[in-house]
Symmetry: C2
Subunit: 405 residues, 2 copies
């Protein structure tokens, strides 16, 4: 039979960093010591209370299909979490449990995107967004974002880019690759802009919980000035209207990446639509993972997570000034996630070439801008601080040597 | 914002049986004893070696993202399984680990279906197929199947239904809701028909391993004549050409429904396409589930599974003649899965009404034909034998009383 993939495949790119990763593994196999700063997942194991809850469920034979939108008790637990942590009322009936934030994004676009519709996405941004959208035959339209708007789209940009084919806007706060946040006022302003256009508004909050005391001076070089432990939660878009789609996950803050569990807060009128889709597309999310996640909100778990959050904060506060001292410029104010998105244009002409050279010559793996869009990718490189401080320090000293600082 | 779901939602139906299930739960809450014969999953717990492998992996912190196509060692184990069980060579490089057969079907249609393409599907058939397809903007075209072709499409039907918009054919063996099989010759003939049309051919083998000694007389009333233990494996479509997409799952034979793990054998030219899609749409399948599944092929596990397969066989051999004695007609030769798809037209005018009445008056829950398509659904009802024989016997005696036999 003739090789004939669906047309959409022509627009779907692989992760470019995988090529680097493969090379990193080769080098490791040859005995080289590689410092992994390209990895988008916490290096901490899943907290023990969560792991033990999974084990208890497995022993208890709780491994059958659940309802398509997930265990009622987990939906209720997430609803309670919104109350406790954010002081926001989100009824359990609006919460769908999904296969990670990935599953939530799939269901949202399956529920909303018509063929040929345009959706506004920030560039740089999480690369899967545009490919998931394209899979459901929607068309991504990039909003280039930069330091002047803290790498987040503004209502003015949204208004300017909106046309008769535009169906909605997706933002992330904290964002990947930049770690920048939106304030509640900014979220509300974007929501109002979408309402004015009668479009949809989706907010990806997967890095919620991984936010750190903001740095008053605008770059995190000054972050040490804010005392440790005073972390501030980012505002949730749930507080800005119940017509907003809010995506979240157990992957990052809860450190459950491989479990594939997330959730979505759905505007009430669409709950039944998402349920129909979930029944047909996925049957249900992972049952052991759902039982595990029931332990995610327990005080003992939150204590572990908050301690780790402090550790991420310490890493950021160490790494950002150290990279700036070498000549990287942290132009995106990194208040969340575990990434520093650096302007490396003073150091190299092409970040992709640089990333490859750094890997070969220093054994430091980082993700070039190419994976995050087409807005000056060659000028940017992303370092993840998903590695402990002594290793980050080793990376910094190798990079200093490489650049002769 | 105006309620405006994607157009596709108008074509996506919920599971009708959920309504019945909700009513069944209500009745149970009122203290009624409900016999669940509507359930499409094994009543056996996940075999202990699989569960223990998951627990060991969780304790060992093997809970990070894996590669998008899954753990190399699991892909290799499945490849070895094809060799051992079927004597067929399937290279690990062609095997993708997925979120159940559901995830495989999603990836296959995402990789192959263009908007407006038609795909041929058997009716009655697994209802999610047409909805998954529709989600990727493909159009399902039903091939009505009945007793004369053992509820499987024939090459003649495929040829007759094929037009310039047709892109491919999806079949299942054993099929849901009928449990009927395709022989290797029949699979090869369907494959040849698809090749002649230069179309795609997908075979869903999720119920493989759950096949039972065939009944020579054509209905399973005679099945007792074949000695227990002489179960015959259905042929895999992998033996009929490496241009065929073969979908499978750990859900049914391996009794891992809630773990959400399956796999797909991909024609070589499309492996990279599926990988790109998986990277973007799902990131990876569940990591604990993948480590669990590594124990699925161990001799100790297979021994447990084969004993349970014998139990399913005994249930079928009990239930089919018992239902026929009441007046249900088992027109689909049930050689696999755990379903009896019965013609109930001699007993009632509308199977949907019947199913509701049976639930209310006898406490027996079964799935009306409505959930499986539009080919005489009102004449058919599906009984699952996912309940132990004493309960099946109780159901039979309640049904006999209801129909006055
Ligand atoms: C911004 C963003 N959204 C969504 C995801 C998907 O994560 P998951 O499916 O593990 O929840 C990621 C993963 O890196 C991400 O960075
Ligand atoms: C024929 C068929 N295919 C696919 C599936 C999907 O199962 P899973 O996603 O659990 O592997 C089912 C589930 O009942 C089925 O009956």
């Amino acid at each position: 039979m003739t090789y004939r993939p669906a047309h959409r495949l022509a627009d779907i790119e692989p992760f470019h960093v995988v090529e680097l990763l493969t090379r990193a593994r080769q080098l490791e196999a040859e005995g080289r010591d590689i410092i992994h700063m390209e990895v988008g997942e916490p290096d901490f194991p899943t907290p023990e209370p969560i792991a033990e809850a999974a084990i208890a469920a497995i022993r208890d034979h709780k491994t059958l299909y659940t309802q398509a939108l997930g265990l009622p008790e987990l939906r209720a637990a997430i609803s309670a979490f919104y109350g406790q942590r954010y002081g926001v009322t989100v009824p359990a009936s609006r919460i769908a449990i999904t296969n990670g934030a990935s599953g939530a994004l799939n269901l949202a676009f399956a529920a909303l995107a018509n063929p040929g519709d345009e959706w506004l996405l920030a560039d740089p941004g999480y690369p899967c967004n545009r490919h998931i959208l394209r899979t459901y035959e929607g068309l991504p339209r990039s909003i280039p974002v930069g330091p002047d708007s803290n790498f987040q789209p503004t209502p003015e940009q949204v208004s300017a880019e909106w046309n008769e084919r535009t169906a909605g806007l997706l933002v992330a706060s904290p964002a990947n690759p930049t770690g920048t946040l939106l304030t509640l006022d900014e979220i509300a302003a974007l929501a109002n802009e979408c309402r004015a256009k009668d479009g949809h508004f989706l907010v990806d909050e997967i890095y919620h919980g991984l936010t750190y005391a903001p740095s008053p001076k605008g770059t995190c070089s000054a972050a040490q000035e804010v005392p440790l432990g005073d972390e501030v939660d980012a505002p949730t878009a749930c507080a800005a209207g119940d017509d907003i789609w809010v995506i979240n996950s157990f992957s990052k803050y809860f450190q459950m990446t491989g479990w594939r569990l997330g959730w979505m807060v759905i505007p009430e009128p669409y709950v039944r639509d998402v349920e129909k889709l979930a029944q047909n597309l996925t049957l249900c999310p992972s049952t052991p993972a759902q039982y595990a996640a029931l332990a995610a909100f327990a005080p003992a778990t939150i204590e572990i997570l908050e301690a780790r959050r402090g550790e991420f904060r310490r890493r950021r506060d160490f790494l950002a000034p150290a990279l700036e001292a070498i000549g990287f410029r942290v132009t995106a104010r990194p208040e969340g996630a575990f990434y520093l998105y650096c302007d490396c244009s003073a150091l190299a002409a092409d970040s992709f070439v640089l990333a490859r050279d750094l890997l070969e010559k220093t054994g430091v793996a980082a993700t070039p801008g190419l994976d995050f869009g087409s807005n000056e990718p060659e000028k940017h490189i992303r370092f993840a601080y998903t590695t402990e401080i002594p290793r980050l320090a080793e990376a910094v000293s190798r990079l200093s040597a490489y650049f002769g600082r």
